[in-house]
C-alpha cells in the first residue's frame, strides 16, 4: 500500500539535503524514513510538534488519530492548529493535516477522525511501523499499549501535565511495555480532575519533539544500541531532565508476558474507572 523505493527524488534530495549530510541519517536513513508509516494518536499538545517534525524530517506516511475539535484553550500549546480553525470549530485531524500540508506536501497523511476504541484500534493501527502515543488519558494509554503489543509495533509514549513530562519507548527490543511498568491503573481519585490540572504550553512541545526523535531512532535502527530507559522532565527539577534505567520486559506481564491473560482488547474505561470521554476537558490537558 505504500511505495518502497530505494532512491530519493530530486525534490527529496533538495528538501532533506541537510540530513543527507549526516552519518546518522544519510541516504539510507532518509529512504527508511520516507518508506515508513507512523501513527500519531492524539493531535494535541504532544501530537502537534511530533507530527510537524516527523513530516518535516521526511516520514513518508503519517496517520493522525483524534476525534476532537479545536478549542481556544488548546492554542497555547497545540501549535499545529490555528485561531481560524478554532473559530470554525474544525476537526483536529483536519486542522493538523492542513498544517502538515503547508509544511511538507510530500508527506502522505491519513486522518482517522474517530475515538480510538477497543473495537477499532487494531484495524486503525495495523500496518504502521511505529505508533506515537500522544493521547491524554489513562484508558487510551492502556488501549494503545495493548494494541501495539498485539500487533508487534514499537510504541513511543509521551505525556505532559502541569510542568512535567515523561517519555518512554515501549514494546521494543526486549524492553518493557506500559503494563510491565504499570500493571494496575491508578485509582481514579488520584488522577487530577480536569479543572485542577493545567499545562505549561511548551512542556508538551519539548516532549513531542523528543517523541519525534525517538521515532527517527527506531526507524533508522539507532535505538537498538540503547538499554530501556524513561526520560523524566520537570520544570521544577534541576537539571530538568533525568534519564532512568528501566526494567526489561516482565515475564509475568498480563499482555506481553510469557503467559498473557490479556489476549484481546478489553474494556479500558472499566479497567481504569474512567474512559476517554468521561471528562471532555481532559482532552485539553
Amino acid at each position: 500500500r505504500r511505495s518502497q523505493q530505494d532512491g530519493l527524488s530530486r525534490d527529496e534530495i533538495q528538501r532533506y539535503s541537510r540530513q543527507l549530510l549526516l552519518a546518522e541519517v544519510g541516504t539510507g536513513g532518509q529512504v527508511r524514513l520516507r518508506n515508513s508509516a507512523v501513527a500519531v494518536v492524539g493531535t494535541g499538545g504532544l501530537g502537534s510538534p511530533c507530527a510537524l517534525y516527523l513530516a518535516a524530517m521526511g516520514v513518508g506516511t503519517l496517520g493522525l488519530v483524534d476525534h476532537d475539535t479545536v478549542d481556544h484553550s488548546n492554542l497555547h500549546r497545540q501549535i499545529a492548529h490555528t485561531t481560524a480553525a478554532c473559530e470554525g470549530a474544525a476537526r483536529k485531524v483536519v486542522s493538523a493535516h492542513a498544517a502538515l500540508a503547508r509544511l511538507n506536501p510530500q508527506c502522505r497523511v491519513r486522518t482517522h477522525d474517530v475515538l480510538l476504541e477497543s473495537a477499532n484500534a487494531l484495524e486503525i493501527l495495523r500496518g504502521y511501523d511505529v505508533v506515537v502515543d500522544a493521547s491524554d488519558n489513562a484508558a487510551t494509554r492502556y488501549l494503545v499499549n495493548d494494541a501495539c503489543v498485539m500487533l508487534g509495533i514499537p510504541l513511543v509514549s509521551g505525556s505532559a501535565v502541569r510542568v512535567d513530562g515523561q517519555l518512554t519507548v515501549y514494546n521494543y527490543n526486549g524492553g518493557p511495555c506500559y503494563r510491565c511498568l504499570f500493571p494496575a491503573p491508578p485509582p481514579a481519585a488520584t488522577v487530577a480532575t480536569c479543572s485542577e490540572t493545567g499545562v505549561l504550553g511548551v512542556v508538551p512541545g519539548i516532549i513531542g519533539c523528543l517523541q519525534a526523535l525517538e521515532v527517527v531512532k527506531v526507524v533508522t535502527g539507532r535505538k537498538e544500541d540503547e538499554p530501556p530507559s524513561m526520560l523524566l522532565f520537570s520544570y521544577k527539577a534541576h537539571p530538568h531532565f533525568r534519564s532512568i534505567k528501566l526494567r526489561g520486559r516482565v515475564p509475568t506481564c498480563a499482555v506481553c508476558g510469557d503467559a498473557p491473560t490479556v489476549t484481546g482488547l478489553v474494556d479500558y474505561a472499566a479497567f481504569c474507572g474512567a474512559g476517554p470521554s468521561d471528562c471532555p476537558q481532559t482532552l485539553d490537558v
Binding site: S135, Q166, A237, R247
Partner: protein, 121 residues
Amino acid sequence: MADTGAGDEQLKVTVEFGGGLDMFVKKERLQMVDGAKKAIVRMARQTGGKGTTIRRLIEHIGEDYLKASTDLFCTGSTLRPGILVIINDADWEITDDGMDKYDYKLQDEDEIVFVSTLHGG
C-alpha cells in the same frame, strides 16, 4: 529536620517527588537544593536489628511528610499504583533478584525519586 540524632547511627537519603507528587508533601519538608525542591531524610541505619528498607522509608514519609489523605501516595508501606520508584537513576525493579523490591536496604546518600505516571498530553 525533625529526625536528627547521632550521626553514625543515621543514614541520609535525598528524596524527590515528581509527576505532581510534591503537591501532597508538606511544604516545610522540602528544601531548595541546587535549584530543585528535595527532602533530606535522616533515618536510623538499622530498624529492628536489620538494615533500614525502602518499605520503612515509605512508611516514614506516610507518617511525617504528607499533608493529608496519604492514600494518594501510599497505604501503610504499599505505594498506590502508578508510582515509579527510582533509586539512583534506576527503576527499583532492576535491583530485584527475586527479592521483594520493598526490601531494598537504603544506603547513605541514596537518591530516591517517587514519580507519578502522567496521562495527559
